[in-house]
């Protein structure tokens, strides 16, 4: 089975994001860039299939600036077989990213395309469903598990109270929410091998994509409002007293009880 995992490079989730001087973008100097967390789960799900059946091929693709190669190399070091970068400097509308990815999918002909359910920078969750739409393929969202079953793939979708298990006949798109195991760290031999691998580049024109989708315009960005200093209570052996004070305050001051 052939997998293609689409990934995006985003500010690392441990980074404290700051608003830039223009007030409508984030300050990127000195930032650490990483694979978006949900895309890492997608890589892990695909690599687990490869662990189970070594004939499985796991490719990765990203649309983004030249620095995105670092994220692709990280994916190779984790154990992916090959990587492709679609070079696009600057911000591209989600639907245009989906079109570019669809063109790559048509060339590579994977059985299963996996995307993280959303990128942890814009948090839109548009590209995955839009890619499925551009391809005319079905998709399953909130994917947490993937099990081959004959000519089908069982796709586990997390919903309230459990999982819906869908039987997909490839090709299909999965939007990954989580993997059961944490995404693996690259091994040292993996890192050495990844260093030597070529990462071919494509551009939008060669894929026949002319950006033209409707664009969102960010007018302003701000950090969430700082919360005021709260009241701190020490138990000092009087749990009952403190509990009653807080319950009373929630009822009378905050009016949420």
């Amino acid at each position: 089975m052939r997998f293609l995992v689409c990934l995006k490079q985003v500010p690392d989730s441990t980074v404290r994001v700051k608003v830039g001087s223009d007030g409508r973008s984030i300050a990127t100097d000195g930032i650490t860039w990483s694979i978006s967390p949900y895309d890492e789960y997608a890589i892990e799900l695909a690599l687990e299939r490869k662990d189970a059946d070594p004939s499985t091929v796991v490719s990765v693709v990203a649309v983004g600036a030249a620095r995105t190669k670092d994220a692709l190399r990280q994916a190779l070091a984790m154990g992916c077989d090959d990587a492709t970068l679609v070079v696009a400097e600057g911000d591209l509308a989600g639907l245009d990213v989906a079109k570019a990815l669809a063109a790559v999918v048509r060339e590579m002909k994977p059985d299963v395309v996996l995307c993280g359910k959303q990128a942890s920078d814009d948090d839109q969750g548009l590209v995955g469903p839009a890619l499925a739409e551009a391809l005319g393929w079905p998709h399953v969202g909130m994917l947490t598990k993937l099990v081959p079953a004959g000519s089908c793939v069982e796709m586990w979708r997390e919903v309230e109270g459990g999982h819906e298990v869908w039987n997909a006949t490839p090709p299909v798109v999965g939007l990954v929410h989580k993997s059961e195991k944490e995404p693996r760290y690259p091994s040292l031999p993996g890192i050495m091998k990844a260093k030597k691998k070529e990462i071919p580049e494509k551009d939008l024109a060669s894929l026949g994509v002319t950006p033209g989708a409707p664009r969102l315009e960010i007018l302003a960005m701000e950090p969430p409002p700082q919360r005021g200093q709260g009241r701190i209570f020490k138990l000092d052996g009087d749990a009952k007293g403190v509990a009653e004070q807080i319950a009373k305050a929630l009822h009378e001051e905050a009016k949420v009880l």
């Binding site: 548009l126 551009a134 969102l216 950090p223 709260g230 138990l235 403190v242």
Partner: protein, 292 residues
């Protein structure tokens, strides 16, 4: 402006978020509220039905639920329209709407101009449902049957899953972290949640350890919640967790460590042993609510 509200049902009842959106949208222009017939969400068929119905409208509004976000994104792609996810406010503005939405896992709030026509998903609780709001009239629309390439198999219930209010829509949430020491102590969390009428949540440490199902994880790579009351028990307050709950109206935190980051966002912080405090707090809540 012509607005199409795509409502969602759960167990036959309109979801609260759908009612919130239908009520607020009345102020934007001509509103039609529709719901897709059928119990189980089918991405291709449902988004096709919504896209078909949406032609001629200026704005499609859906709830930013798991299904709603998925449906909205694919319908927007089918229509070639602009799309904005998980918005906390929408304001009409001359050929566009201005939306407020979190980005960077809640570490940033953005004001975004979305050109019309557009599909926008709106977060539960973003708009307060007026007590006087009449139940919206809902027109049913039909979707094609399931695609042969994607067939529904079965439901696998989470062992602990269940009857509680949905985390994303709950007005109160009780969450616990590693400070709870083990899954055998979860009943403390549930007793408090029952007293408050709250949903239960967990830190990533707790879901990763397998004490609780993934769907209860609050924070980055989990759920973002904005209840009126959030109670954090034994949660240190990693930046990823804070991103998922810091917009709650009132936060109560209990932790042994006086330097825990969770106290920086707490309105009421309790420094001490949660095993002493929580049972007492559960009793105190029952007393105040007059149910004990």
């Amino acid at each position: 402006m012509k607005i199409l509200v795509v409502a969602e049902r759960k167990d036959g009842e309109l979801r609260r978020v759908s009612s919130e959106i239908a009520a607020k949208a009345q102020g934007f222009g001509d509103v039609e509220v529709v719901a897709v017939k059928g119990d189980r969400y089918l991405p291709m068929a449902w988004s096709a039905a919504v896209a078909e119905k949406a032609r001629g409208a200026d704005l499609v509004l859906v709830g930013a639920t798991l299904g709603g976000r998925d449906l909205g994104a694919r319908a927007a792609a089918k229509l070639g329209w602009a799309y904005a996810a998980d918005c906390t406010d929408v304001t009409p503005a001359d050929g566009a709407v201005e939306v407020r939405r979190p980005m960077y896992a809640g570490k940033i709030r953005a004001v975004v101009k979305v050109p019309l026509p557009a599909v926008v998903s709106v977060r539960a609780g973003a708009w307060t449902l007026p007590a006087s709001a009449p139940a919206p009239g809902v027109n049913e629309i039909a979707a094609a049957a399931s695609d042969e390439r994607l067939r529904y198999g079965r439901f696998e219930a989470t062992a602990s899953g269940g009857s509680r209010v949905s985390l994303a829509e709950a007005r109160a949430v009780v969450s616990a972290g590693r400070g709870l020491k083990g899954p055998e102590n979860w009943k403390l969390v549930e007793e408090l949640a029952d007293a408050l009428g709250a949903a239960t949540g967990a830190s990533r440490a707790v879901t990763d350890a397998g004490w609780r199902p993934n769907e209860e994880q609050v924070g980055q790579t989990g759920k973002t919640v904005t209840p009126d009351l959030y109670v954090a028990l034994g949660i240190s307050g990693a930046i990823q967790h804070l991103a998922g709950m810091t917009s709650s109206k009132v936060i109560v935190a209990v932790n042994k460590d006086p330097d825990a980051d969770i106290f920086k966002v707490a309105d009421y912080g309790v420094v001490g042993d949660l095993f002493e405090f929580v049972p007492a707090f559960t009793e105190a809540v029952k007393k105040v609510k007059g149910s004990g």
